[in-house]
Structures are given as structure tokens and as C-alpha cells.
Subunit: 311 residues, 4 copies
């Protein structure tokens, strides 16, 4: 099975975990999701992240979800294995790698503060997982309260061979991409793959700054694919035109705490999910929010007739 490495490029969609209305795992729904992402042309998937409601799954369910995605997707699958203890993390990581995952993603504990604490943490993680598990570092200060400076990322890239990718969702974050790429160009740092999150809110400029693509869960992954491809092909205005058409919805989906409900609602509207159910605790959209999202979808369809919407 193909593994991610430091040259991985493209769009990795953060996949939600599908649930039945009663909160039970919708295992068949995983296949439908995987097929949708396949049709959307994404380069890979990321499962069991925060937006995959991973912390609300039992360990048996986590393994089941990861395996099912790996088996169905014709593409590399990165699996979130964040856990408070290294033993639990190692077990899940080895199990999913044995079943064909392309790599694993680890978010930092919220208690980390200093440069040394962050580098030390990922050093320990990499030692526990072993050299054969490609590792994605999740740089998401808004959620994890851990701020990773460029020197920290350079130290990680230079000293931990198995870290191959940065999931970049610092905010603001454009200068960080440029500074990392300049360090690489100047020979002060080895290359890392950089895929960007933040719901795609800055993807138009992130790729121009040197990011390799996106790793995020926006409900129209085909737009992410388009933008990355257009920028890569030098069609700047076209990339921005496509992006701007989606920006009102991207912005709406990027709201903390409610974004996943928006995403699942749209995916139900698009026929990709059977139910927008989230596991508890978690909140559903209000009628007003649903109406706003539907209005944004309507406007999007006017601008983007190709947008594949149900109803």
C-alpha cells in the first residue's frame, strides 16, 4: 500500500464518521463516503480526526472505521491516532498500518508550551511508533492551544525522520508556509509535505505560498481539488474565481463548534450521507442555520451550475 512521504501532494479530505440516527456506526455509509471522495478526485483521505468524532468512538469502533475506509478507498488513508498514553497510540497506529493505512496523524497535548516540550513530545511519539510509521504533525493552535514556531518545525523535520507531513492550520499561517519553504530552499531544513486545514479558508493563497495541497473536510472536496490544480497550473485568476464562489459557504462551515454539523447537513443534501447525526455531546443545526446553509447552497448553484446538489 502506498504511504505518505515528504513529497506527498494534493488534497486529502478529512472524512466525517457516518452515524445512524440512533448514534450507531453506519458502516455501509463508510463505503458510500469513500466512493464519493473517489469520484471527487481527491488524492487521499484522513479519518478519525477531530472532525471524524474520533474521541467519541470506542477503540473497537476506531479500528473498524479505519479498516473500512482503507479497504474501500482506492487511495492513501491517513488515520488519526491521538491518545493521552503512548501505549494506546502505538497499538492503534500499528493496527491501522497493518491494515494498509498510509500514515498516522498525532495532535499535540494541550499542555505543551515551550519549543523543547513540543519537539520532545514528537520525538517520543516517533520512537514509540517506530521508524516505519509515517507521521503527520497537526499544527492547530486554535483548537489545541499549542503554538509551533518555524524553528520548532525545522527541528522536527531535521531530527525525526518519520515525520513526513505538516497538517498546517495555524491562523494566521501564510507567512509560516513561506518561511518554512525558504528554510528548505536555503538548505537549513529538509523538505516536509505541507497540507493545509482551516476548512480551506485560505487555500487560494496557501498553495501559492508553497503548500502542497489541502487536508481539510470542506463539503465540496472537488473545489479543493480544482483550486490546487489551477494554482499548480498557473491559472491564478481562475483559481480565485472558483474559490471565491465557495467562500461564503467555506466561511460558514469554518465556525468552531458548529462546522461539523454544517458539513454533515450539506453532505446529506448532496446525497453523500444518509444522516447528519453526530454523537453526543454535540449540537445539531437550528432551523435558522439550516435555512442559511440552504440559501448559500442555492447561491452557489447559481454561480457553479456544475455543483452536484440534491433537491
Amino acid at each position: 500500500m502506498q504511504r505518505i512521504d515528504r513529497n506527498t501532494r494534493g488534497v486529502y479530505s478529512i472524512a466525517p464518521t457516518p452515524f445512524h440516527k440512533d448514534g450507531g456506526l453506519d458502516v455501509a455509509g463508510i463505503d458510500r463516503l469513500a466512493d464519493f471522495y473517489d469520484a471527487a478526485g481527491v488524492d487521499g483521505l484522513t479519518v478519525l480526526g477531530q472532525m471524524g468524532e474520533a474521541p467519541k468512538l470506542s477503540s473497537a469502533e476506531s479500528l473498524l472505521v479505519a479498516r473500512r475506509f482503507v479497504e474501500r478507498a482506492g487511495r492513501p488513508v491517513v488515520v488519526g491516532v491521538t491518545a493521552p498514553g503512548f501505549e494506546t497510540m502505538r497499538e492503534l497506529a500499528h493496527e491501522v498500518m497493518d491494515h494498509g493505512a498510509a500514515g498516522v496523524m498525532v495532535a499535540p497535548p494541550t499542555s505543551l508550551r515551550t519549543d523543547d516540550q513540543i519537539v520532545g513530545y514528537y520525538t517520543q511519539v516517533a520512537e514509540r511508533l517506530g521508524p516505519d510509521v509515517p507521521l503527520v504533525v497537526q499544527d492547530y493552535p486554535l483548537t489545541f492551544s499549542v503554538v509551533m514556531s518555524v524553528p520548532v518545525l525545522v527541528r522536527i523535520a531535521s531530527t525525526i525522520d518519520s515525520v513526513v507531513m505538516l497538517k498546517h492550520e495555524d491562523w494566521p499561517g501564510l507567512e509560516k508556509i513561506t518561511t518554512l519553504r525558504e528554510a528548505e530552499a536555503a538548505g537549513r531544513a529538509p523538505r516536509l509535505s505541507i497540507l493545509c486545514g482551516n476548512g480551506g479558508l485560505f487555500l487560494d493563497f496557501e498553495v501559492e505560498r508553497g503548500a502542497d495541497g489541502a487536508m481539510t473536510g470542506y463539503c465540496f472536496p472537488e473545489l479543493l481539488v480544482d483550486v490546487v490544480a489551477s494554482v499548480a497550473a498557473g491559472r491564478r485568476d481562475e483559481a480565485h474565481d472558483r474559490f471565491d464562489a465557495h467562500l461564503p459557504l467555506i466561511r460558514y462551515e469554518q465556525q468552531p463548534g458548529v462546522g461539523l454539523a454544517v458539513r454533515k447537513h450539506v453532505m446529506v443534501r448532496r446525497g453523500i450521507l444518509a444522516s447528519a447525526t453526530m454523537r453526543q455531546p454535540g449540537r445539531a443545526l437550528s432551523a435558522a442555520e439550516r435555512a442559511e446553509v440552504d440559501y448559500l447552497l442555492e447561491r452557489l448553484r447559481e454561480r457553479e451550475p456544475a455543483a452536484d446538489l440534491v433537491a
Copy 2:
């Protein structure tokens, strides 16, 4: 002089403080700024907020800036008077009210956590300032780490007569507006004026939800005026069309830590400020950031030919 009250509506622009290149206060620049806002058709101004770099001014400068804006603006001016001690706050508040301010705005200390602490704090503030100083409560969790629930705001509105306005920049915040307005409609709460911040990022829906307008510093205040007016007139699609044309720039300006530099850069481009200088500590835009903002301005001008840009 006109004071804000619980029925105040419209757009109050958060004005930056203009500095010379050496960091000195550009007093004449205040007049130019005030005239620009006048021409843009805003309903009022807010000065000495976070985006006015108020914490970096001496107390003498603060008073000078507030007075100059009040004297020049033909509109109500709200003045930020946040301070760690009540004495300092009271002094500045009374001085600016004596010089014609329309009201004052107070942000919560970052140490407040519980409902009672928040209500208690604003109760004490109102007692210190006295019944004749209209008070704006700043609800901005991302910056101040203080989360004000709807019950807290209802208690404040019900028990503190001099609190007349909520500067709303919770995120996500649309449901909060609806819930507050429902409480008012059901007679469970007296009316508050609600003006929205967050750089205008959700203004299209905020006004639909019942907000009275905007209090934010987006570098094209005329757009904020347009959107509020269009929604009020029931021209929903038009409001969104105008809004969406600006959204790429609004989104860029709304980045924490760098937003004010973006704002000042555009205001220099528009001929409104003589210099984009910020007081230290604070960071300037990189060349790449300036180029990105300029590109967004160029694209904006294509969509909005009326946009008044220099060069």
C-alpha cells in the same frame, strides 16, 4: 450631543489611530479619517478600541485622540475606556463624556469566568461610571477569553440601566442574536442595541438575525453601510451580492494579529491614512502579504468599479 441608546442602529466604524512614521500621533490625520468616515456614510465612530491601539497610548494621548474625533466627526463617537482599575476608567470616561462622546465601551478582564463574575463586573463598572454614561459591553471571547451566555446578557440588560449596547463578536454568534431577540420579543428581556464586530465576516446574516448593524473596522466601511441598508430594505440577494464581492478581503483582514496592518495598508492605498505605521510592539505586513492584499484589491475593483481606490 447625541448619545447612543438601546435603539441605536446602523454602522459604527472602529477607527484606527493614525501615527506618523516615527510612531508619533498624527493629530491632523484624525481629521482626515473623520472626514472619510463622514463621506462613507457611517452612523457613528468607535475610537480607542483594541484596533485603535488604545493600550499603547499614554493617558494624555488617549484623551487627545478621543476629543479630536469627537470634535471633527459630525456623528456620535463611542470611546473605549477599558482599564484594569476603576478609577482610571472613571476618569477617562467622564472626561470624554464631558467633551461630547456618545458613550463608552468596556471590555471584560480576561480573568472573568462565571456568569456572576461577568454580571458583577459590569454592575460595578456601571456604578462607578454613574447613570449618565451609556455603556457598551464588548462580547469578544476570541480575544478576551470571556464567554457571555444569553442569560448573562439578559441579566445585564435587565439590571443595569446604563448598558445600552452589545458589541457582539462571539464566534459562532448567529444563534446568540436570535436567542436574544426572541427573549426580548417574549418579554423576558428589555431591548439592547446589538452591533456586530468580527470584521464583518458574518454581517450578511447577522442583520437578518436581528442585529442593528455593525461596529467594526473593515477598511471599506461603505460596504458595511450598503449591506445593512440592503438587508433593512429587504433586498436580500443584493445584500449578499455586495457582501460576497468583499468577502475575500474581509476574510484576509480578519486574521488575528495581522488584521490591523492589513487595514492600515488598504487605508493608505485608499488615501485615507498617510502612513500604515503601528506602534510597537506590532508587526508590519511582509512583501508577500502586501502583494496578496493588493491582488485582492485589484479583484475587488473589477467586481465593484465604484470602489474608491488610489492607483
Copy 3:
């Protein structure tokens, strides 16, 4: 099996989880621990808390640890069941209750801020667990960043029947105890059992203020038993004399991040644990720290000849 209720009093020791040097669970060590606590005269145990390294155990291990403690201890055992998802929480809670636990303890998610969020969370938890699972609310702002005001606790006590106990470790927290007890005395709140944490650092006054005892893991639980009994018997000076002799060590053990290592080191010195091993990530004591703890033990033995120390 006896369950905790709103009149539970005494000392509930927070038990560490014993590990072998290789990080494996020391199951037999659980029996030795349980016997030690029995001999120390504690009224109950609390297992699988933060200080029990619960987040680093697999779900199978968690159940095993809880069952073993319940089977061996001749006393009520409260089990920590904190989990990000309600399903996982419910499963573990029901399993341990089926095996004889006396109740369960739930810490709040760190994202909770407003009064309504906190009350809402525990309301949902209690609904999920059902009316037959006695519930302990963990009020520990320093670790969880959630501040529970007295009105919040009164609402919880008044509206959620199955919440029977407050694990109180707010800091400062003495006034909170008094205010809660006054509310009860005035008929504004039903009684809650209050057991105090914070390593016992304020136990001398907490019991005087109306707390029912301690729920903490200080390495000399017999001291906690003594203090609670002395205060209850009206022997104030004696309670303080005993307490003050231990305070230098209590203070040392109460340091965040290193406290558990201190506790396990002393328990090895006392012959209660075979190894001071903690699961990774976690740090061991330095040579200097061990020497300091040993010096404090030496001084303690001079003041308290009865203190049962090895070597």
C-alpha cells in the same frame, strides 16, 4: 454494595495505578494498595482519576483496575469514568457499577465556560448514566479550566438527583464551602457531600468550613483520617498540629506535573508500591528531587515517630 450518597463523609483516597517497571499493569500490586488503604483507616477509595493515570489505560485495563480494587477493598470505591463521548462513559460506568462500584466521577470537558454549559453538561451526563449511578462532580479549575460558581453547584444539586457529591478542589476554595453550606442551611439548596482535593493543602480549614472530608491522594492517608477525625471531635489545635507536621511534604507533593512522581516515590519508600513507574508520557523524579523528598520524610519522622516508613 454500599453506594455513596449526599451524606457520605470521611476520607476517600485517590489511589494511584501500580505499574511494573516495564509499564505493564501490576495487578497484584492493586491488592497490596487496597490492603494498605484498609489499614490506614480510610472510608473509601477513588480509582481511575487523573492521578490514577486513567487516560493512559486501555478500556480493558480500566475495567480490570476498577474491578480489582472493588473486589479487594472492603470499602466503597468511586470510579473515574470521564470520556469525550457519552457512549464510552456510559459503558464504563455501567460495567463498574455492575461490579460493585459505589459511584462514578466525571470531570468537565475543558471547553465548558458559561453556567448553562456546565449545568447542561452534567444534566446530559446524568441522563445518559441513568438515575441509579451516583455521580461525583469534579470541580478542579486549575487542571480543567472550568470554573463552577456556587449558583452552578446549587443548580446541579437541585436539579440532578443522581449528583450526590462534589469533589472540591477549587483554589482558593474555602469561601465556596461556606457559601454552599449556608445555602443549604437557608433552604436554598439541597445537601451535597463535599470531599476536598488539592492534595490536602487546605484540609485543616476545609473541614472546619463544613466539608465532609477529603478525596485526595496524599501519600500519608492516615494523616488525612486523623485531621478529619480531630476536627470532627472539636480538637482544633491537635488537628492543626498534626497537619502542620505534614505540610512541608503536602506542599511538595502538590506541585503540578511532578506530584504523582513524588507520591509514588514515597509509597515505594513506605513499602506500599513495588515500583514508582509511571506510564509515558510522564516524568520521573530527578536525583535532587528524590533527595529533597527523602529529607522531608526524615524530618517528618522526627516530628511524627509513628509515621510508618521503610528504611
Copy 4:
């Protein structure tokens, strides 16, 4: 006037600011305070810190307080000059240095996170203040949320000549002292003076670890002087005996949010302050708290007959 430098040793008492009952500055009270500290044998004073309620003073009052302390104290006075803007900070710093201050102390803005941000901030501060202003770095994560690692402190000590002292109140913090001193001994870092805060809660071991003394405001500064002197003279047991007698009160005074009220209450009891008044916002002791402190004073007098108490 004598200035602090990298070899400064001893006890610098954090002085409270005395207020009249109506909240007005008690200027004559400053003289009485200064005389008390002189009699207590401290080596210096620190004024206008957090515990001096500096944020609640106007800039004119700040200067007045600093000058009065400097004029009266026969010892070096360090002045807190923390401010959001560099201009305000520079002005106050130069004014107090012109009036004979021994150095200035600057706390970090709470927004700093990465190593580079912290080093960069103090580099900028030092540049603004100029090479002739001895600078104290305040390392107090519990209050400022900024964590300074040993490598950060070594970088600061190595690259910023005017930083001469670390006010150390990390918690836990003993290992940090040892690690810094080891770096100095190994030639990897130049010497810094290290004075410890945290209310003195770990002073018994801090000096043994290599700290040069204390900079804190415990209400019996003569105890701090004793402990530092005893450790320096190699009388370990005696140092701990004296320290342990005060520990119950030190622990009580070290409670966040209420500590200053405890301190001022004791200073009134001792005849050092005329009033325990704090400026608003701030809370007074409850009757129960006053009684507890008085009980601790009574017990202290039994153990330490020399303790100079009023009433």
C-alpha cells in the same frame, strides 16, 4: 545609586501600595512601609508589581509611588514598568531610573507562546529601554500564561546584556534553578541573578538549589531574610525549622486572588499599614478568612515568640 546586577543576592520584598480607606494613595504610609522593610533587614524592595496594584494606579501615581519608595528606602528599589506599549514603558522606566531606581521589572504579555516570541519580546524591550536600565524578567506562568524554558532563559541571558535578573516563580520550579546553574557552571550560559517568588512557598529548597534569594511579598519578610541567611551559612535544619513554622501562613497567603488581602490584613495587624484597603476591583477578606489568618498568627506566635505582632 546602587543598581542591581547579575550578582545581586538577598531578599527583595515586593511592597504593597498603601491606600487610605477611600482608595486614595497613602503617601505617608509609603514611608512607614519603607522603614519597616529597612528594620526587617531586607536587601531591597520591588514596587509597582502585580501585588503593588500597579495596573490600578494612574501614571502620575505610579511615578509618585516609585519616587517616594526610592527616596525613603536606604536600599535598592526595583520598579515594575510593565505596559502594553513600549513608549509608555520607556517613559516610566527612564523617569524612575532618573530618580534613583535600581532597575526595572517587565512581565511578558500573555499572548507570547513560542521561544522566539519570548526572546524577541525581551530583546525589543531592552532595545527600547537602552543599555543603562537593568532589567528583571518575570517568569510567572500561573499568572501570565507564558512558559519560559531554560533554553529561552539562556538565550536571554546570553544575548541581552541589560537583563540581569530572573524573578523566578515558575511552579514547579526547583529543577529550573538547578538546570540554569548547571548551564552556567558548564560555561553554556552567563550568570543571572535568580530571586524567587511564589510567596516563598518553596524558598527552603530554592536557595539550596542555587537561587540568590527571594523577591516576594510574604508578610513576614524577616523570615525570608532568616531562611536565605541560614541556608547560605550551611545551617540547613535551622533554615527548615524556621521556614516550617511559617509555612501554614505562607500557604494561606499564596492563594490566588485573595493573597494580597491576607498580606495587607497581617500588615495592619503588625502595625505596618494603616489600612488593608485595596483598590477596586478587588475583594476584601471575609470574617471567616480574617479569623483563620488570626488563628494562624496566634499559632505562629507560639512557635516564634519573637514574631512582632500587634494586639
